[in-house]
Subunit: 193 residues, 2 copies
DNA sequence: CCGAGATGGAACACTACTGTTCCATTTGTG
DNA sequence: CACAAATGGAACAGTAGTGTTCCATCTCGG
């Protein structure tokens, strides 16, 4: 009998339950980071006991969320093909993909503790790709005063703003996204191109 | 003997202690919102007992921080004289003043619960002034696609980004502020003016 | 200098959440 | 179907934070 625990591609019931718990956790924690495990379990439609079987401690759950976020960012960045075409278009593709992270975006942005694991310290390929893209902006007619490090901050902040705009003001997602992309283009100085 | 409790202009020792506690709370909570009252007390250089004398319950402390934030925003907005001069300059003055809120900015931005009292629901004069200013931007050559509500989100998000930029990347405050102002001018579409 | 006010610390009961165990029940898979 | 896996609920001990009381000490302000 081969041990199948801890395998990524866990199929069937276990994978589905695990996913449900993670999604519920993101939903609940993005609203209130101090929410109890009981609240998360009930949001997931799962007994608290079951949750503890998948994530023995609270920190295990948080770690898993962090890993999921890291992974989703990597996938989104890859899909955006940031090295292809004009920087302005690549930035638009990237923002488009990252915007879909939704609540996970809010959570990772708001909570300092979530993004503090060893995995977040080391620079990922996605980080490098984003830095390459944002560095390319100055060369292609962007505002020469704004360096890549700063534009990283702006990118995430504006994405956050867009998501908050839908939550707080009830603006439809597609419109918030449009505003977001337009604002990013302006902010980088690529607006007039 | 006249009761002097609950008077705003409490002078002397009590006022100083109260202020020290509030400042410590902002410092500590902006790093970790789940920090215990004991940590806040020790950061303030004050016994936990004393803290409970000023703020009987945790929620009282949070309410006080919220009120302080509201007040500081009002003062900053007033000082910025947002109705005077060109919109671009007024926006710069406003951002300059708000940037000084520092950790309070991070805290109010990150924690949803802090800004959820009845005081935050009602529109303040500062809110109206900011809305007036941001509405004025379109008229004065700003990007016509961006409405005032969205620009409010962008203003706060970029301020946050600037503050985070100093914290995370060790960028000096004056430089972060410069980037922030420049980015806001670009984002609103007033850059080329 | 002296008293009222302000403080700090110890001790206490209380609460909410956490993490664990055990068992009955349901689910899905071969 | 039959069996193994997965689940939910109850009960439990342990822990950390909260809010309170009491008292000794300190320090301003008159």
């Amino acid at each position: 009998m081969i041990e199948q625990r801890n395998v990524v591609a866990e199929t069937g019931v276990r994978a589905r339950t695990r996913k449900a718990i993670l999604e519920a956790a993101v939903t609940v924690l993005s609203k209130d980071f101090t929410a109890s495990l009981g609240e998360i379990a009930s949001e997931a439609g799962v007994g608290r006991t079951t949750m503890h079987r998948y994530f023995p401690e609270r920190s295990d759950l948080l770690t898993a969320i962090g890993a999921e976020a890291l992974d989703k960012v990597a996938v989104a960045t890859e899909k955006a093909r940031v090295d292809e075409g004009a920087a302005a278009d690549a930035l638009e593709r990237l923002a488009l993909e990252l915007f879909d992270l939704g609540d996970l975006l809010m959570l990772a942005f708001n909570d300092p503790g979530l993004t503090s694991g060893p995995d977040w310290e080391t620079e990922t390929e996605a980080d490098r790709a984003t830095a390459r893209l944002l560095g390319r902006i100055r060369v292609e007619g962007g505002d020469p005063e704004l360096d890549a490090d700063w534009l990283v901050q702006v990118l995430w902040a504006v994405l956050y703003a867009a998501w908050a705009h839908t939550k707080e003001n009830g603006v439809p997602k597609h419109q918030a996204l449009r505003l977001c992309l337009r604002t990013l283009r302006n902010a980088t100085g690529l607006g007039a191109v």
